[in-house]
Symmetry: D4
Subunit: 215 residues, 8 copies
């Protein structure tokens, strides 16, 4: 596995990452009840011989412009070895639930802002993980799913540019949705139950080389 | 309008009807915060000269089998002049979110149980209103929407059999969804905000002959 | 209807407008549970093809002097296309319930302050709506009702001066009170239940040219 | 004063009497925060040499038919020397706020039920006090005030029939309203602040021969 | 009565005055639940023709040195016509319950501080009322009672110096204690129930010339 | 010390014993925060080699007649080796704070009831401890203290009759009051702080032969 | 994997199993926040094509005798295909924290009661899983660990007798403790954080043939 | 006993000292529910003739570096005659439960910081008490116990250097653990119940010359 003993792994993003983590910094019991805590627990259970410090600075409702506003204090100041970002769901969602509000992050602004953050950060990192946003909807022509896929494409592109581990969370959900309905994971197709968070955690760890057969 | 001065109008159903109404009987300030309260307020504001007693016995999570179990105490004992029923959303939903649970109400059981309730009740009523269940999803091929439409067809059929006013709530939502996304009304495509409840109230009142131009 | 697609409509005033709205700005689910939310819901249900952003900055207990103190941040800074004001109930009420307190807004101060606010605002607006304060009491010789009518006259006069849509809320309540007692709407003749708020919403929308027969 | 050392004085009635008293029996610190507690405190402060046990079994929302249903356990079983009753406000009010509900206590039913209670109780009492219901509204032609006066007339008549001390609470309020507005006492013209309860306590004690000049 | 129509009467002191009043200023419903509220209610019930504004700035736990620290903002800035002070209970009590704490207000410091406050205030007042502290204990040789009497003597002396109405609250309690035990008023001999507060209110109003026989 | 390894020691009584213990049976962390918990902690800290099960069935407000009503379930059914009783404070107190209530336990009824309980219980016990009630007031002529001493005399007499360890709690407090004021222990002279409970615990343990010099 | 599509898997036990599950039956979102929920989430994420209904009837504080008392209603009545039991921690723990209480389940009573439950249940099951109790303490000579191992031996023996899948939870913890201190998992060596529950879930699933490499 | 009449004794430390004390300064009823309050109660009960002011400024989670940061305001500014310090448990514990966090206080930093605090404080004190940290675990080879013993040795050494009363809390617990299991005192071997706090209080008082046989 790519994460080494003694390293710090920081997760940031929106409500999917936040999940009730402690302020100002989520750590151990304060990691929240989402995929970040599951990643931490899986690391402990599978790799007890490696001590990896997991941190969480996700904030509910964040879009990429909110991340930008707190990048120094919430990400850079913690000096992580590895950084994992999942952002974009609210950038898309606001076009649908707050359509009357003119303050929107379109695809171009999303890409520009995101790239700017990566440029100032990548050199300081040992590893970077970029996770796609997602919409837990199997129908790819659904308007919000279709728009989300466009933002996910930006993430995939940026992952290539910045030598990042790319985690296709949308694809992981699509695999699940081939067998089960979206309602088995959540009501709003965004905030999943623990099973949905486990799907994210599995995708993340597999992408960073986790060996599931380790005793 | 078909509702006359001095009559009692009872609404029953699931969480869409319940909306936090008072127990054991919802009336006036205890009607909850959904379409039932809006119908009551619209009647008061448009028809102050008619005193119509509005009651609410909806219970969240109910399927048609739950209605059957409490039919005598929660519906018949209140001796309404008009009865309005909206049931079926949970009958469908449980197939998707509790698919592992074998206790399900399929379309046949839904129709049989529903008809049985109407048979024992219709003779005592001055008027009956049957409202379709719905799924706030524009795509008619979505699995849960498709199944919901089958249950709605049962409601339409029963409305014909029992000389009931038929309210196609799904159609009312579809009209809205032609212009706006589902996310502007709710997260889970089932429990709407007040705008969604207003759509139901508008459909209900129009169906019972409400004259919107009344001063 | 006079409100156009893409416009912003801001409501401000006292507790009747406030109704528990979110701070610092009421929008969508944060509009409170009064007439403002009902106006928003009726717009959505009748005119889904027009996206109108509804905002609420009412604060409970406000008199016109309180509005003046927060006019820049709570009204002008939001740059509304349409502005609707309902103020005056507390200006009158304090003469009755806090009569021993020498700090009172008499009719002259009310008019002067109100006009001053309109003068600095009207040029920036596409439309202005002035709603009368009211007292839900049919007897026009009741001391508080009589005084309230004097303040309402000021509102009507200002509406004429500033080319505003005038909404006579008192008259709307009087129509209702011709058929029903005040106790059916509220206890204190000021803070109504949802039926009372629906009367305000109906009066407001009718005044701005709402077509109730629109499908 | 007519109340003697060692006697028990029981108050019963509706919310005006209840005022948050303890269940099942209000006594000392559990008398609630209304006129009953004030009567108790005034007795203690003016007549420390007389020990008078004051009890309270008022229940909010009660009409005379509710009193009837609990007469044995809540009044007779406590074997008071003196009994004071104030009932009727809700009998009248329900005609106005729940006009759509057919279950109403009209003036005739009020008188019959009330008389029946007094007949079975008067012989066991050393003293009986009947207090009128009231509406804190100076205008005697106000519909609810006018109806309340009719019920008060019944109380006055019954006081004569049963050799009771008659307390005209409405008259006591009218004296106050000659100088001050109703809004200085309460919002809904029924549930007063402490000043309003003091008016009731003063009227009660004066009627039972309280000597205010006692040191 | 010495209090005139249109005047403002401000009470200040410790927990006996505070009694849960509103911050920053107690008025009307915010006067707390002690003797201040009772004085206000008795004034309303006996003298409705006089409008007297009653204010409360008592704070629990205060000694005279605490009053001094907030004298400008909490007393002088409100510009009362009449000022009533009751302070001293905590100055004494701390000698008994916090005897180990060296920060104590002895009798000399009490007198000096108190006089200083009166000197800067008396000229601005139409009337001044000084109330003794008290200990609800009949035995004058009880250590805390004996010490309290010494502080009360200071109050009486200052009342003479500053042309103040003197209210001997201790004497009023002693009259009561001649007939009833201290336990009938309170547990700790300091914080009484409403009967005890009524004793204070009666003493206060009698001292300012209240005519109890006024209709 | 008289308490042996393996024995059960049950305390019962009123609020002094109760102190928030768990229902239905206080044990270990559920012993409450009074002298019972302190006795348990002192036993653990001084005699770790003896395992003594401490139980608590005190109930706030109890008089000896309340103990009688629950004697079987709350005392006998637990089959204690040692039983410690402290009862009588409320038997006396009610004469003072609820003097108007005719339901009182006078000294004679106290003795008769208490003796009856001991007669049916003593034969089953290995040891019995009777603790006096008390009033934390140094002045022996204070009315409530004087009456309390009479009840304490009954306890001392019964201790002699039933071969019980007698604990003079009043005397223990008197020793303390020779140096410090009652206010340093509590407000109402009945419910002490932890220092007061420690005085009881010390008296109890010394009486049962506790060796304070044990390492 | 041994668990098949359409099967029901019921977990029962003590607080480790309970973890705040819903009453009366834990299912889906009501499975609690322990290893049971993790097993459910891992099944969903790894095997979406198999629908396995997971139920939870654990109750905090239970020993094997408590399980026996509710076996019919909480286990048999749900007719599981697979049953998983983890019981014994409290049977051991009570010897240490409630040593003074004579009601203890020794090793013999543990084995007898446990076997009795299995005998009446095994024939109805498709599969049975027996999990050892544990103590998260590496030192095998620690008194509570040593005693726990004796009870674990009983579980292993019973697993052999009843053809059950045996899960050695203690061994799974021991592997972890070879690298990390017990304090990284929990405070009391019994109730772990999510990492500790993940260790249990991993052990359980591996024992029932889970293929971690399944996509 | 070494503590004299009129002296102030200040305790500071971590959660064991804090125990819910009042902010900003714990005194009397605000001393918390741990050993500090017990010491205060034992002093009152055994030595009523000596008035000793006990203060508490412990804060949960503190290590010696946290003490250093607040030394001036929380210790020196209170000018105690006697100072008692118990610190070190968290300095050790963080190595075990937050091992991944690089911010640790090793033994050297512990000693340096501790000595620095004592050097600036000792000259101002009449007496100093240094209490060891502890781990309620009998096995001296347990990793956390072993490390704790190293920090305790530092405390013993510093006590010698600074003429302090040395309290070996670990030894006091070890005596108890010779007879009873750790589980009888607490779950996490750090935060004991009242019995554990009594062991600390006993050790403290014995060390400062408390005469347990004083009447």
């Amino acid at each position: 596995m790519n994460l080494e003993h003694g390293q710090t792994l920081l997760f940031t993003g929106d409500s999917i990452t936040d999940c009730g983590r402690e302020r100002p910094l989520g750590e151990r019991a304060g990691l929240g009840n989402g995929y970040v805590a599951l990643v931490n627990s899986l690391l402990d259970a599978w790799y007890p011989q490696r001590r990896i410090r997991v941190l969480n600075t996700g904030i509910s409702g964040n879009r990429v412009d909110h991340l930008e506003a707190r990048w120094q204090t919430d990400i850079l100041d913690h000096r992580p070895d590895w950084l994992s970002i999942m952002i974009g769901i609210n950038d898309v969602w606001r076009h649908f639930d707050y359509a009357n509000n003119p303050d929107q992050v379109d695809n171009g602004r999303y890409q520009t802002t995101y790239r700017n953050l990566l440029e100032q950060t990548r050199p300081q990192l040992k590893g970077l993980v970029l996770m796609t946003p997602y919409y837990i909807e199997a129908n790819a022509t659904d308007p919000m799913r279709a728009k989300m896929d466009q933002y996910s494409s930006v993430v995939e592109k940026l992952a290539g540019e910045f030598d990042a581990v790319f985690v296709n969370v949308q694809a992981a959900y699509d695999h699940y949705l081939a067998f089960r309905p979206t309602q088995s994971l959540c009501g709003d197709r965004v905030h999943p139950n623990q099973s949905g968070h486990m799907i994210i955690a599995k995708a993340f760890l597999t992408a960073v080389g986790f060996d599931w057969n380790t005793t």
